[in-house]
């Protein structure tokens, strides 16, 4: 499976845990949940996917959404607006 380039934006607690707002990664992950598992392993994120929501290309998506080259991904921590 060829590697894809995925842009990731981090917000709030994940931005602090990762130590940056944005990065591009090379991955062979076929779905968003696989990508998240890779990042968890690499950075030690302790948040379970169940606690997060997912956006791909700025739209809310399921965790088993397939990833394409140049997709932009956001893992959304528990929100607290208003």
């Amino acid at each position: 499976m060829p590697a894809k380039t995925i842009k990731i934006q981090y917000f709030a607690v994940l931005r602090e845990l990762r130590g940056c707002s944005e990065e591009s990664v090379q991955t062979v992950a076929s779905t968003a949940v696989e990508l998240y598992r890779e990042l968890q392993a690499e950075h030690g994120f302790q948040l379970d996917p169940d606690a997060l929501r997912l956006a791909v290309n700025d739209e809310l998506r399921d965790w088993d959404t397939p990833l394409n080259d140049n997709d932009s991904v956001v893992f959304i921590p528990p929100i607290a607006g208003g």
Binding site: Q9, F11, A12, V13, R15, L17, Q46, L47, A51, R53, A55, D58, E59, L60, V74, I76, P77, P78, I79, A80, G81, G82
Partner: protein, 144 residues
């Protein structure tokens, strides 16, 4: 109309956008920064937003409100950045020919905004500690 704003919210200016000679009832909600939350004394807040998804979700919420309720117009502005106690964090205004639908739509919009907009709130406590609201377990795990 929805807007994320880095600057203080001006209710008078936003109200003028909703002026309409057919309007008979106008309801607003302001979310103020409180000096306490869940038993802790809060000193200030930091709001962080994911702008692109905020815009599309808020547009959907406002469209849903107009479909569900017989209203004329609805505006929502949410702050980003540093806020002090008493600052307006979110402002919603709804105009209608009659007041019932304006009240219902305003409540609907704030309820949906709270659960759907990708916005995060970090509370800075008077004891110097801080934390992401609704994310106590995230922080615990992060330190674990």
């Amino acid at each position: 109309m929805f807007e994320l704003s880095d600057k203080p919210i001006d209710p008078g200016k936003l109200t003028r956008r909703l002026a309409d000679p057919r309007g008979g009832g106008f309801v607003t909600f302001e979310g103020w920064v409180r000096n306490h939350n869940e038993g802790r004394d809060v000193c200030s807040l930091e709001y962080e937003a994911y702008p692109a998804l905020c815009d599309s979700e808020a547009a959907m919420i406002l469209a849903e409100a107009k479909e569900k309720f017989d209203i004329i117009g609805a505006v929502c502005v949410h702050r980003a950045g540093s806020l002090a106690i008493g600052d307006i964090a979110v402002w919603i205004g709804v105009s209608g020919v009659h007041r019932g639908p304006a009240f219902a739509a305003c409540q609907f919009i704030i309820d949906e905004i709270k659960v759907r907009l990708p916005i995060w709130k970090k509370e800075i406590y008077t004891d110097g500690d801080s934390g992401w609201v609704n994310c106590a377990h995230c922080v615990v795990h992060a330190h674990g």
